[in-house]
């Protein structure tokens, strides 16, 4: 697994530092970090499913939405306790992952991306039409039980969740499994030619991605306290997840995390100066430039900078 002591030291420092954060920053900043945490979870799960295997999904909100809606409906409409609702939501999302996996058996590349986009649009329309008494139709649902009160608790919960997911995914992806999944993204035929069942590997990636997405979606909706189809199954939401993973760096765990924090803070810090739509203009523009200039993401920029610095120091 190639784990060194400094890896754990860095993780411990990161987690420790973050947990100490509420002592030093305002609750407004904590709120921003909460959104960054959830975005990081979504970006990590997208990366497991798409970033590594190369099966680019444009329908990730489809999975997150299944998780979010399941737990929202169970808790709000049927008064089921969160302890049961969230695991059920995660299971349902994994079923959703299975549904996404089926086309992946036959098609890849652009076609797969389009199918997933169609899945997202489909569920967007269905949620509003089918059983609006359960889903709340176009207007969605409000008053969903929240797990935490206040920025500080919300921060601890979301950060613990994010850190647990990130650390376990990081560990998982450092094993040979991670190597094999990334290998699928680089050349699926060669993985098969190496005697590995890519179907099984992809299934694993899709289920794991769905698991994380469902977990994130469920906790997210219990943080927000409300849900609406227009906010979830939306190209803009997809865009945010995708851009976070991309500009952070694909096929890594740290990258999507970094990307999520970068984007959320960029957006939030622009708010006082540019209150309206121009924020999105700038945000999208930066994302596009970064993606064009460095498709491997910020993480790659950092490590390249680090290498250069090392060279300069050693010479």
């Amino acid at each position: 697994m190639d784990l060194r002591w400094h890896h754990f030291a860095l993780w411990a420092a990161f987690i420790g530092g973050m947990l100490a954060l509420p002592q030093f920053v305002s609750s407004g900043t904590l709120r921003t970090i909460i959104f960054a945490n959830y975005l990081a979870i979504f970006a990590i799960s997208w990366d497991i499913l798409s970033g590594r295997t190369g099966y680019i999904s444009f329908g990730h909100p489809f999975l997150i939405g299944i998780g979010a809606y399941t737990t929202a409906i169970l808790t709000k409409r049927f008064d089921i306790a969160v302890e049961y609702a969230i695991p059920s939501a995660v299971l349902m999302t994994m079923v959703g992952g299975l549904i996404l996996f089926l086309p992946a058996l036959r098609i890849k590349g652009s076609y797969f991306a389009l199918v997933t986009l169609a899945f997202m649009e489909l569920i967007y329309q269905l949620v509003q039409v089918i059983r609006p008494d359960l889903t709340g139709g176009t207007r969605g649902m409000s008053g969903i039980p929240t797990l935490t009160l206040g920025a500080r608790d919300g921060f601890y919960l979301s950060f613990s969740l994010m850190a647990a997911i990130a650390l376990s995914m990081w560990l998982l992806m450092r094993t040979r499994l991670g190597t094999a999944l990334s290998a699928i993204g680089m050349n699926e035929e060669s993985v098969r030619g190496s005697g590995l069942s890519t179907t099984r590997l992809k299934l694993f990636a899709f289920l794991t991605g769905a698991f994380v997405a469902g977990l994130g979606g469920a906790f997210y909706v219990h943080y927000l306290g409300s849900i609406a189809p227009r906010a979830l199954f939306d190209i803009n939401f997809l865009f945010t997840i995708l851009v976070a993973a991309l500009i952070g760096g694909l096929s890594t765990v740290i990258g999507p995390m970094l990307g999520a924090f970068f984007l959320t803070f960029l957006l939030e810090y622009l708010r006082p100066y540019l209150p309206g739509a121009e924020r999105y203009f700038i945000y999208g523009g930066i994302a596009l430039l970064l993606y064009m200039y460095e498709p491997k993401g910020i993480l790659h920029l950092f490590s390249r900078g680090l290498d250069r610095w090392r060279e300069r120091v050693s010479s």
Binding site: R176, A180, N187, S190, G195, L196, S251
Partner: protein, 244 residues
């Protein structure tokens, strides 16, 4: 008597085109067989059918007596057939050791997670195909065509094959690289590996093979030693005819 590879009445049709025409042959254990024929004769299609990348229209393919035509590509590899490609297909963002690691992995997700990579075996394989210890961290973009072929040989060997299918192993190589690859194949032959080799470079192929099979339009037109095959009138005609 079970042979490493036994092909019987293999037929492959693409629409109206017959790519493999009732082909039957056997590769015996420890032998190296050359598969020759003009461009478009259907050599690569045969490889693809053996590996399960294309499904045959009819016929049988056996590996050590075991019918493999119903198996997936990865299952066939685990049964001991492996191939290399005319254009190498490495994992672009991985270094040499990681590329080989994929070949060495067990096809079991739990073992992939719990087991550690066998770094010694990875290095051994890399060195055995002629890489130097300084090369091991290089990624495919830093390698020459010859190095990529070596890498592909190493990854293929990592799957522990009993027969290797080599597709145009000498294409695009410099003279010195051809010598390196040839030496490698000779060494593996001495170690008892069975080969089925496709090459355009008949001169380079000659010392590599015990016998040869010539095909055209997907059908076998001659077999025997390479000299015998090349002396065959039909084979000469097929090459001169340029059936491209």
């Amino acid at each position: 008597m079970n042979h490493p590879l036994e092909i019987t009445n293999l037929v492959k049709k693409f629409g109206g085109l017959t790519a493999t025409d009732n082909l039957s042959f056997v590769v015996e254990k420890g032998k190296s067989v050359g598969l020759i024929g003009p461009n478009g004769a259907g050599k690569t299609t045969i490889f693809a059918q053996v590996m399960g990348e294309h499904r045959q229209t009819s016929g049988s393919i056996k590996v050590y007596g075991k019918e493999i035509t119903k198996l997936s590509t990865s299952a066939r590899v685990r049964h001991g057939v492996s191939r290399t490609y005319q254009i190498p297909r490495p994992f672009g963002n991985m270094n040499i050791l990681e590329n080989i690691r994929v070949g060495l992995m067990p096809d079991n997700i739990w073992q992939m997670i719990t087991g550690n990579p066998d770094l010694d075996r990875e290095e051994e394989l890399a060195l055995s195909v002629g890489f130097t210890p300084g090369d091991l961290m290089k990624t495919p973009s830093e390698l020459s065509m010859g190095d990529l072929r070596k890498l592909e040989m190493a990854r293929t060997m990592a799957t522990d094959p009993s027969i290797m299918l080599l597709d145009e192993v000498f294409a695009g190589l410099t003279v010195s690289e051809i010598v390196q690859i040839a030496d490698l194949i000779q060494k593996m032959r001495k170690d008892g590996m069975t080969f089925l080799i496709v090459s355009h470079d008949l001169k380079a192929l000659e010392p590599m093979v015990d016998s040869a099979i010539a095909i055209n339009y997907g059908a076998m037109i001659a077999h025997g030693t390479l000299d015998e095959v090349l002396a065959n009138e039909d084979v000469r005609a097929s090459y001169l005819g340029g059936t491209g």
